[in-house]
């Protein structure tokens, strides 16, 4: 974890949306990313996530798969279908861990897949990579 905590990151101009039906998971992700100073928003289910994206397009979505109503796969599908939101970086954070689920996630258009329980180092390195991609794209 050391590299992430020795270096100062300022991602305050980036917007992150975390989606999970369990509030504790949202809190955990928020605390883990607190060092990055993101503009951090949360959504409790698929519908809320889509509404949040419509309200303001995030740079990165951290998405749970198993949620009541519209599930994570469906959220990815809908976002990718819309040219406006097709380019958002999406990272799946899920307790589903079978190979099928992972493959399905990538097929739907996720950019990365992180299994729960979340290992902080993995999450942070993944987010840093995604933000570098976002920065490269913006350039």
């Amino acid at each position: 974890m050391a590299p992430f905590f020795e270096q100062e990151y300022d991602y305050s101009k980036y917007n992150v949306l975390a989606v999970d039906d369990i509030p504790l998971n949202l809190l955990l992700v928020k605390k883990m990313l607190s060092r990055f100073n993101f503009e951090f928003r949360t959504a409790a289910d698929g519908q809320q996530a889509l509404d949040a994206v419509a309200a303001k397009k995030p740079d990165l979505i951290l998405l749970d798969l198993m949620m009541p109503g519209i599930d994570g796969f469906e959220v990815i599908r809908r976002l990718r279908a819309n040219p406006e939101t097709a380019d958002i970086q999406i990272v799946i954070l899920s307790a589903l861990n079978s190979n099928e689920d992972v493959v399905k996630g990538f097929n739907e258009g996720a950019n990365d897949f992180i299994m729960k329980p979340i290992i902080m180092e993995k999450l942070l390195s993944c987010v840093v990579t995604q933000m570098q991609l976002v920065a490269a794209k913006n350039r």
Binding site: L24, L28, M66
Partner: protein
């Protein structure tokens, strides 16, 4: 002060024999321009124009190798500091004194280096005047002493001359007749023996007059020195001063013809009043006395110099006006008195100022010591606090590490159990998948928050850390419950599950179950036990298993009830020969068509409420082993759900199971 310094610089200019009209200092023209600017602004303390002008003077004097201009730069610097010192507050006085003394020493060194020591001795006037203006008489005297010593040591006659003159002047101001006389005589001695042309050019008339004034009019010495003054005045073409004193002596000697001639000579000279400010009034008084009349009071009041008052007093006595004589003598005495008391005040002031400075110094030193002590204390305190905080956080981290290790152990156990289940029955794949998600949810919280807790100090506040610890503990409990369910299911499946019959008391079982689940209640929900009859009723059963079933039912109720109440009731009459427990909640209830489905394994009505979906299935399994029944009361329609557990009062006990327990 201004007048004095201007006078001093005129003198300075006059001393230079070949002084050019537009450059009296005879220095480089460019330097002179700078010097003129410096001279114009030296008294203007509001701006720093002087500093700029003087700095330019130094710069140009160095560039143009003009030693005199360079020396003058230091003279002006001293003059500026004296001027500043005059307006300084008593608190700044010490600093001002130091500045002046230092500037003075620097000037001396520079003057010696350039061989222009006369500027150094001139500048005594500046420093001495500074000390007088700021009422530091002792310092003024010690300065003059220093000047005297310096000039004697360096054999500088001009310096000596200046020192003696200043000393005489100072003593004269203080009405110290003997010392005044002493230094004036030394001055004259020097004048008469020196070959220094600068001194020889000085008019000594004034010195003779001052010396004569130290004697009484009747005294021969007085006449002697006045005569010398006349001669000197004649030699220096100072006829006006000469005439003035001659007129006074003539009046005293009642030589009226002589007096009138001298008087008219003086009064006809237009420069007379500028030489002797109250000269004409003196003549008016003298005229009145000669007429043996008392001069008007207004006229007498204009004579403010003790010397004048003394002369008028003696004159009046000479002409027989004894009242006036007495009056003038008293007046003179009063004037002297006031001057002396003023001087005493000044000395006292200076002395107390010095005392005050000493006291301040001591106070400052004491305060410094206090501050040092306080600082040391604070540092020590900080160190202690730091060590305390360090020790605390170290133990905290160690505890957290231990907790984490325990959690990991639990996780490992769980994984092992999970593996066992998977190996035992391939049909349980679905269970495992479901379990994976169920386990990972609390696990995610445990692992995640433990990681946050193990981050270096400073990442999160104490409150946050406490919150994280609570999440870890709660989720560990949840995980333990899950684990229990899984192990129970596994035990039931493998037949490795015993019912231990024994006596059980209805109310005790119910109350224990309530107690074990109370902490799961959502805020605002009430849970209570309502027995049909308060009388204790003991029957044969496995009290632990019954309690387990009730806990399961109550936990389910807690999980789904967000408001209202949960009621556990018991009844012996609801169904004859059966003990009935009823768990009634005000939650969302269960649709009638789901009444049986919920007792199947892995069935969850709401997928997103946490739980294994094993609880009810376990209840039913355990109950059936005891000949009991668990079901959802579909007739209950008052909102919420009601689960019923019916236990036979006299169960059929299989052979091995009784022997096991009894």
């Amino acid at each position: 002060m201004r007048k004095l310094t201007t006078f001093f610089f005129c003198l300075l200019a006059a001393l230079l024999p070949l002084a050019a009209q537009n450059n009296p200092y005879e220095i480089d023209d460019v330097c002179y321009e700078c010097l003129r600017r410096a001279e114009d602004t030296v008294d203007d303390l509001e701006t720093d124009e002087f500093e700029q002008a003087n700095a330019r003077l130094l710069e140009q004097s160095i560039v143009r190798h003009d030693e005199k201009a360079r020396t003058l730069y230091y003279v002006f610097a001293l003059r500026r500091l004296c001027r500043k010192g005059e307006v300084a507050t008593p608190e700044q006085r010490k600093q001002a004194n130091e500045d002046v003394d230092l500037a003075f020493d620097v000037l001396r060194d520079v003057a010696r280096e350039t061989g222009l020591t006369q500027y150094y001795y001139y500048s005594y006037d500046l420093a001495q005047n500074y000390y007088f203006t700021t009422r530091q008489i002792s310092r003024a005297f010690s300065l003059l002493d220093k000047m005297l010593k310096d000039s004697e040591q360096e054999n500088d006659e001009y310096g000596l001359w200046q020192a003696l003159r200043f000393l005489a002047q100072v003593y004269q101001q203080q009405l110290d007749v003997l010392n005044t006389r002493r230094y004036l005589k030394q001055c004259l001695d020097l004048y008469n023996t020196t070959k220094d042309p600068t001194i020889r050019r000085q008019p000594v008339t004034r010195i003779y007059c001052d010396l004569a004034d130290t004697y009484d009019f009747q005294d021969d010495s007085c006449r002697l020195y006045y005569n010398k003054a006349f001669q000197s005045a004649k030699a220096h073409m100072d006829t006006l001063r000469c005439a003035y004193y001659q007129a006074q002596i003539a009046a005293f000697d009642k030589n009226l013809k002589e007096y009138h001639t001298r008087r008219d000579f003086c009064l006809n000279d237009p420069a007379f009043r500028s030489f002797f400010r109250t000269g004409p009034e003196m003549f008016d008084c003298t005229d009145a006395i000669i007429q043996r009349e008392r001069p008007s009071q207004a006229l007498l009041d204009t004579l403010y110099l003790p010397r004048q008052q003394q002369f008028i007093g003696r004159l009046a006595s000479q002409w027989g006006l004894h009242d006036l004589s007495l009056y003038m003598m008293r007046k003179r005495f009063e004037a002297m008195q006031s001057i002396l008391s003023n001087i005493n005040d000044m000395r006292l002031e200076e002395a107390s100022g010095q005392f005050e400075a000493y006291r301040l110094n001591r106070q400052l030193r004491e305060r410094d010591e206090e501050v040092a002590l306080a600082t040391r204390l604070v540092v020590a305190l900080l160190v202690i606090i730091l060590i305390g905080a360090l020790a605390f956080s170290l133990t905290h981290i160690r505890i957290l590490r231990r907790e984490r290790k325990a959690d990991e152990e639990r996780i490992r156990e769980l994984k092992e159990a999970n593996d066992q289940v998977q190996l035992a029955n391939a049909a349980k794949t679905r269970f495992v998948q479901n379990m994976s998600h169920e386990v990972r949810t609390p696990l995610n919280a445990i692992v995640g928050f433990s990681q946050l807790l193990s981050l270096p100090d400073g990442s999160f506040s104490e409150e946050e850390k406490t919150e994280f610890s609570e999440h870890v503990i709660n989720n560990t409990q949840m995980l333990t419950m899950l684990l229990d369910d899984i192990l129970n299911t596994s035990a039931i499946d493998s037949g490795n599950y015993r019912i231990s019959y024994g006596p059980g008391e209805v109310h005790r079982i119910a109350r224990a179950a309530i107690k074990s689940t109370e902490h799961r209640l959502k805020p605002g929900v009430r849970m209570y036990y309502q027995p049909e009859s308060e009388e204790p009723f003991t029957f044969t059963t496995d009290p632990r298993r019954v309690q387990q079933i009730l806990i399961n039912l109550l936990s389910n109720a807690c999980k789904h009830t967000t408001e209202g109440e949960i009621c556990l009731s018991s009844s012996l009459t609801r169904r004859p020969d059966f003990v009935s427990f009823l768990v009634t909640d005000t939650g969302p209830g269960v649709p009638a068509d789901q009444a049986e489905k919920i007792f199947e394994r892995f069935t969850k009505l709401n997928e997103f409420v946490q739980g294994t979906g094993l609880g009810l299935s376990i209840c039913r399994d355990v109950a059936s082993r005891m000949g009991a029944k668990v079901y959802l009361d579909t007739t209950y329609t008052d909102g919420g759900a009601r689960f019923v557990l019916e236990l036979p009062v006299t169960p059929e006990i299989p052979e091995e199971e009784t022997t096991e327990t009894k």
